[in-house]
């Protein structure tokens, strides 16, 4: 445990050094993370104003709150492992990782957590500015704020486990971009990134409930906006916990099978 703490600390320093090497790129990347929800925010605000001040249960100010919080949640749970893995396999970096006496997932966890810690202050600042600029309505109960913290952590864990597992497809084929694309489309529509899920048709909502995406983004956002009852929150936590277990089991199985294939066909 202590040794892992040492590794995490060192990875934090390394990630920091890398991010500062590419400050401009980092800024552009963060701009992207801000712009996407901002565009949806503006579009939905316009739609809502045009429809007389609200769409479904969302007022114009609700939309502003929704997308500002979404920006933060997305930033916190986001990973880029699926892009990275293909490169690692192709460049033989994975071979070096496999020769280390530590599971490679640790440096990925450490790297992701580090980069979030580094970018979080700036993102929070931007979120506050945007919330004021668009008169966002964010009115959670105190209990919801308290529950939001573990929910956010669990959202990150679900997303990380699933995307890490999906990234392992690179063991079987080096052309993983098609899979990545399909994943991102599903994520976009079924997580609540494009629109609050409660505004979508009933069948879509049922599907979204059964898949992991909603629990990663839509659920934490709605919780912090104050749109959920304690029972809703409990159901969401249950769903997250279930997906963490599923993700963990899947990851172990796929990792074992993947490394077996890798060591059979050539590294």
């Amino acid at each position: 445990m202590r040794a892992l703490a040492g590794l995490y600390l060192q990875q934090f320093k390394t990630t920091m050094a890398m991010m500062f090497q590419y400050r401009a790129m980092l800024a552009i990347w963060m701009l992207g993370q801000v712009l996407e929800p901002l565009i949806y925010l503006i579009v939905w605000s316009a739609v809502s104003t045009g429809a007389g001040g609200s769409v479904g249960s969302y007022t114009t100010r609700d939309f502003a709150g929704y997308f500002v919080v979404l920006m933060l949640v997305n930033q916190f749970s986001y990973t880029w492992i699926m892009y990275d893995f293909e490169y690692r396999v192709r460049e033989g970096l994975l071979s070096f990782a496999l020769l280390k006496p530590v599971h490679p997932i640790h440096s990925d966890i450490a790297d992701n957590v580090s980069s979030k810690l580094i970018t979080l202050p700036a993102m929070v600042l931007i979120a506050i500015v945007l919330a004021f600029a668009f008169h966002a309505s964010i009115s959670p109960q105190p209990w919801a704020i308290l529950v939001f913290i573990p929910v956010l952590l669990m959202a990150f864990m679900v997303r990380f486990l699933l995307e890490w597992t999906l990234a392992l497809v690179a063991f079987w084929t080096t052309r993983v971009s098609a899979i990545n694309q399909s994943y991102f489309v599903l994520m976009l529509f079924l997580s609540g990134q494009i629109a609050p899920l409660t505004l979508l048709p009933q069948p879509v909502q049922v599907i979204a409930d059964l898949l992991p995406f909603r629990w990663v983004i839509g659920f934490p956002v709605e919780l912090l906006l104050g749109k959920l009852s304690p029972v809703d929150a409990l159901i969401g936590l249950g769903a997250q916990a279930a997906w963490i277990i599923v993700g963990y089991v899947l990851l172990r199985i796929v990792w074992k099978a993947g490394t077996k294939v890798y060591s059979a066909v050539g590294a």
Partner: protein, 328 residues
């Protein structure tokens, strides 16, 4: 006294890859969509050898001979199709932590250093990964820095280093945890002569200082000559030779080279042997081994010889001949 167990043990090792084949042309491409034609290729085809602890052995063979595949099986990256592999008593592909802590694989054509930041960050990361105690890390790093002259390189981003500088850092990164078994795959590839020599003497020094077992592949015979008394030669996945470098030369050459220096360059030496070169009154002749003594005697008797030297052909030439023929 009991013999210590070998550091590396390989017996009847085989690795067969399934490779998909596709002819050129649209029709073949369509066929490939439906059913891929595959063939089995034995990259390593039944080789056996042992390395004693502390030995440095040169592992030679032309491109595609199966050297890297063997190294990958030894380090645990590849699962053998059949046969035995043991390194320090471990079965490599199980990749046990205690095994991984004791080995390293350095590949001249791949890099593990983080590209965008100074190498020292990658070193520190390895310290954490291998859980090297701080005092040992410090002293190993100092030692490697001195031996490889790394001081001016450590704080420059890796992408700004020259190929040779980067290679030195790669080697250091791979040795920080003081592995007892070291696999070096083309560690000097693409480097200039000075840098090659530096890395060569470093490998010898590391082997001496830490008693490490080293298996080294290289295309530069100078590396092998300088470092390895013993060589293992493979070709098409099969073992061609395993023994002393000098024995390799003896086994695979039926010629010697005679260098004669004459008072003038008028003479025609064709009748004595095959003339390879003639510069500044100095002739290089190639003669069958069995006739060396007789030709030398005749040269001395017939011509105004100033100097005469009998040599084995250069090692490059020998290796070329080894690769050209299948089995002696």
């Amino acid at each position: 006294m009991m013999q210590p167990p070998p550091a590396i043990h390989i017996k009847d090792l085989r690795k067969v890859f399934t490779v998909s084949q596709q002819d050129s042309g649209a029709r073949a491409a369509l066929q490939g969509l439906v059913k891929r034609r595959t063939i089995q290729v034995a990259a390593v085809d039944g080789i056996s050898f042992d390395l004693e602890p502390g030995e440095i052995v040169g592992f030679l063979g032309p491109n595609g001979a199966g050297k890297t595949t063997t190294l990958k099986m030894l380090s645990g990256l590849l699962h053998p199709t059949s046969g035995e592999v043991k390194v320090l008593g471990y079965i490599p592909w199980k990749r046990e932590k205690s095994f991984l802590r004791q080995i390293t694989l350095v590949m001249g054509q791949r890099n593990q250093l983080v590209w965008d930041i100074p190498a020292i960050h990658s070193f520190e990361l390895n310290r954490a990964v291998y859980r090297i105690p701080p005092d040992i890390y410090r002293s190993t790093l100092d030692e490697l820095t001195e031996l490889l002259e790394l001081k001016p390189l450590l704080n420059k981003p890796v992408r700004n280093l020259s190929l040779g500088e980067r290679m030195k850092c790669e080697i250091a990164a791979g040795l920080l945890h003081r592995p007892t078994v070291v696999f070096l795959d083309e560690p000097t590839i693409g480097l200039d002569v000075t840098m090659q020599r530096r890395i060569r003497s470093f490998i010898a020094e590391y082997n001496q200082r830490f008693g490490a077992t080293v298996l080294l592949t290289s295309h530069y015979m100078a590396d092998v000559e300088a470092l390895c008394r013993r060589v293992v030669v493979i070709h098409h996945g099969k073992l061609l030779f395993d023994g002393d470098l000098s024995a390799l030369v003896q086994n695979f050459t039926d010629h010697k080279t005679i260098v004669v220096r004459l008072e003038d360059c008028q003479a025609d030496l064709k009748e004595y042997g095959e003339v390879i070169s003639c510069e500044d009154n100095q002739f290089t002749l190639r003669v069958p081994k069995a006739e060396t003594a007789r030709v030398t005697e005749r040269l001395l008797a017939d011509l105004p010889v100033i100097d005469l030297l009998v040599e084995d052909p250069p090692i490059e030439e020998v290796i070329e001949r080894v690769f050209a023929q299948e089995k002696p």
